[in-house]
């Protein structure tokens, strides 16, 4: 049983303290006593050696990309080059204060300026804000820009955002946050946006369409030209969710497809680690006609000097206190300089090669409902296994844990029953993919011969299957001395 840091507390054992001996003793505070703590905060009191051992032990109960294969569809968990981590830790970056005058932080500003240019070229957009802290945060910026654009034109009826039924859940949630009504567009039999449906759905009330391309089935929306025409003819804007950019970067650009706004996930496509849930970064790019609405400030250059431009009266405002998750930007910039144009394309090509290779082989074990050329990911279904042996996709995922893999994304997209969404990325070798295929083969065989093995999985992880219902029904979200479980 793992102990919490609080349960390791031995009063008096932490000897960390800072002195005041260099200061005069008679400095009287004028903070009223009623505003002061009666005693130090009730934090755990643990010696340094035990703190180090505690978090080292916790790290051994976590699993990162550096530990092994992480084929998590739409999350693009590729290897994060160590050189980026090194660069982000340079003291010239980590010790720079965000409010220092521009002439003291030219290195930071230059990096941001050049990164913006690289992202513009990769996406075919004209300007980027690097401020959003995550993909969903970028979506918020995008939705606010859509709103600002229509408002600025006096086109106030537009209160609907169209979202395909295969979209990431953040898309509808974001649209809702900004006060839009969400209307879902069904996918057609081929897993693509149904053009007829779309044509029917557009009206003078539609503010825009949020689309991922390649979509969450890993399929390229071949009719993107027509989709853009339909949306634009109706006066709406086209928003690109960049979660799946890894499947096309260097080969095709959202800007050329007619998208007006894009967000990117630097922690996916651009190889910045995900940190167990963040930080990420979700820069937003726009075409020229929307650049006036981008958040302030933007980085500008004049006579070889870089500066922050706050003088943008049509801006939607700020979405973060400072300039974005700068350290994440450093990692993405380092990655792109290391790759160059050929490397960007090579990464994409190999992501797609690996995905199709897996699709071909996994497809023989588990049906792939939309089984044709995919981009960086594909979706298989465990529907038949469930029918035949009572084994769910979740059971399969948990069994993969026993074999030392992080499972694929499961139960998404919602339009595929018992979905298993697999994305190998370009940084996995054929040998590793082959081993994964053999493992999946073994699991499918186990499902037929000994389904209980899957239902009982995992067995080799620090804990076994968890009671999620109990956790939600009577939430215990913090430690209490009296409430400690033995």
């Amino acid at each position: 049983m793992s102990q919490l840091i609080f349960e390791k507390s031995v009063p008096g054992s932490n000897s960390f303290a800072l002195g005041l001996s260099d200061l005069p003793a008679d400095l009287q505070s004028d903070i009223p006593a009623a505003m002061l703590r009666d005693e130090p905060p009730p934090l755990p009191d643990v010696a340094e050696v035990e703190v180090v051992r505690h978090f080292t032990a916790l790290s051994k109960k976590a699993y990162g990309v550096d530990d092994g294969f992480y084929p998590l569809g739409s999350c693009t968990m590729k290897y994060n080059p160590r050189i980026g981590e090194w660069a982000a830790r340079l003291s010239g970056f980590t010790a720079a204060h965000p409010a220092q005058p521009a002439d003291q932080v030219q290195g930071c500003l230059e990096l941001m300026y050049r990164l913006e240019r690289l992202l513009c070229e990769i996406t075919g957009m004209h300007r980027f804000t690097l401020q959003p802290a995550a993909g969903a945060h970028g979506e918020l910026v995008g939705a606010l820009i859509i709103k600002a654009y229509h408002t600025a034109r006096g086109d106030l009826k537009r209160n609907i955002i169209l979202v395909p039924d295969s979209a990431h859940g953040t898309n509808p949630a974001t649209a809702n946050m900004v006060g839009f009504k969400v209307v879902e567009i069904k996918s057609d039999g081929r897993g693509l946006v149904d053009l007829e449906q779309l044509q029917k759905a557009v009206s003078e009330q539609v503010a825009g369409l949020m689309l991922t391309n390649p979509n969450t089935l890993g399929l390229f929306e071949e009719n993107i030209g027509q989709i853009a025409r339909i949306v634009h003819d109706a006066g709406g804007l086209l928003y690109y969710d960049g979660a799946n950019l890894n499947g096309i970067m260097g080969v095709a650009r959202p800007g050329d497809m007619g998208f007006d706004i894009v967000h990117l996930n630097l922690h996916k496509t651009f190889a910045a680690p995900h940190g167990g849930g963040g930080p990420g970064a979700g820069p937003v790019g726009v075409k020229d006609f929307l650049s006036q609405f981008l958040p302030v400030p933007l980085v500008e250059q004049k006579e070889g000097r870089y500066y922050l431009d706050y003088d943008r009266p049509a801006s939607i405002g700020r979405v973060l206190a400072w300039h974005g998750n700068f350290a994440v930007l450093v990692k993405a910039f380092t990655y792109l300089l290391g790759l160059g144009a050929a490397g960007v394309k090579e990464a994409c090509q190999n992501a797609v090669l690996n995905a199709n290779y897996l699709r071909r082989h996994i497809g023989r074990l588990l049906p792939v409902p939309y089984d044709r050329l995919c981009k960086h990911e594909f979706v298989a279904t465990g529907k038949e296994l469930k029918k035949k042996y009572g084994v769910s996709t979740l059971d399969m995922a948990k069994r993969l844990l026993d074999y030392g893999y992080h499972p694929p994304t499961v139960y998404f997209p919602l339009i595929v029953e018992e979905a298993l969404m697999i994305e190998p990325t370009e940084t996995e070798s054929k040998e590793r993919l082959d081993r994964f295929i053999r493992t999946m083969q073994a699991i499918v065989q186990e499902a037929a011969e000994n389904p209980q093995l899957l239902k009982d999985a995992p067995r080799r992880t620090p804990v076994r299957r968890l009671d999620e219902t109990a956790a939600a029904r009577q939430p215990v979200l913090r430690w209490h001395p009296e409430g400690a479980v033995k």
Binding site: L4, F16, D22, P40, P42, L43, V52, T56, L58, S59, A62, G64, A87, L90, F93, T94, A96, P98, Q100, Q104, G107, C108, A133, T170, P172, A173, M177, G179, I248, V251, A252, G276, G277, P279, P295, R318, V319, L320, W322, G324, F326, A327, L337, A341, E346, A347, N350, L353, N356, Y357, R360, L373, H406, S429, T461, V463, L466, D467, L477, R478
Partner: protein, 438 residues
Amino acid sequence: MYVPNPPRVRQQMLAELGLKSLDELFADIPEQLKIKGELQLEERRDPLQLQRELAALADKNTPAGTRPCFLGAGAYDHYIPPLVEQLLLRSEFFTAYTPYQAELSQGILQAIFEYQTMICQLTGLDVANASLYDGASALAEAVSLAVDVTRRRKVLLAATLHPACRQVVQTYAAGDRYQLVDVSAPRGVLTVADVESLLDKDTACLVVQHPNFYGCVETALAELAATVHGAGGLLIVVANPVALGLLKPPGQLGADVVVGEGQPLGAPLSFGGPYLGFMAVRQDFVRRIPGRLSGQTVDREGRRAFVLTLQAREQHIRRARASSNICSNQALCALAATMYLAAVGPRGLHSIARRCHQLALYARQRLTEKGFELLFSQPFFHEFAIKIADPAAANRRLFQQGMIGGYELPGALLLAFTEKRTRAEIDRLVEVLGGEMA
């Protein structure tokens, strides 16, 4: 560059797919949409060039690490115990994904659970989430929560709130779900009298920063809480977590929601990010709090375990009806904060806060001796503003003399004193500023 399969292996894989070239993998993309030729990116650097170039770029800055920094205004140059940086470099932590697969992520889930507990301990509230993007966006989420809970539309913001926080709330308000009303605070802190006339049946909440943007301790918090509660609204406090090593937890003074910027807890300045927004709420709002929550449960053998819970609030389940669109948070920064708080411990945090405060008191003593006047004569924690005719010129002079000066306000300079500053550095500051009288 990071593709492990050599060309021969790629050919073999292509052959298995019945394809001849990598280009055929993109047959589903219409020709006219494909990039002709190559992207116009910067030339590829080899690893040695890359390291040299990034190091040179970092060297173009003159950051706080190289000289004493008196700049704060929401981002602070605090001491970070080396164990924080070293433990964070364990790749199981930083290369992991969001812990949806709980059995494989107990380390991260337990750390989040510990983080939630520590934030509750600091703020004096019942429930904390697993972090938000930063203090300003956390406040925007808090305002949205207050509007939802009270079903009211009017949001009162103290004028002493960090201007960037105000701007972020303003941006989020574009959804038209609420209206912002500024509450002026002519004395540099908010009093009940400043607020009373603005309270009505539509008031969702009052937002107060503590210590506020000008560094002042909001001494009337308890009275403000009682007043706003009397009108049926909530009190949201934006707090500095290091100050909470010394100051009474806002939850004990009546705050319903406490949010803030967690950067002072073990995150480097990093030119503004990544930082972390923390949020703690009263028990009643547990099903309204945005973002991730790690909850305790048991596995099938009855062992204690942790899992992301109450996910029904979230975007991937409720989609358009979710309470927030938060998906990624700042888990690694929250982990750093947990390590930081564990490393310094209860007395350590108190001693850090006390040293910050005492250094600031010393600086005030020295500056007032020199004839400087404070912008507001209120109790402060570790930051205060002095009146100065030309703050930009003062900052230039400080920089020439090897120091990073304060945050420039109209006719004033906001100076911050973290525990890293020394008496000698403050003496030097005072000496250089001495010739720059108001």
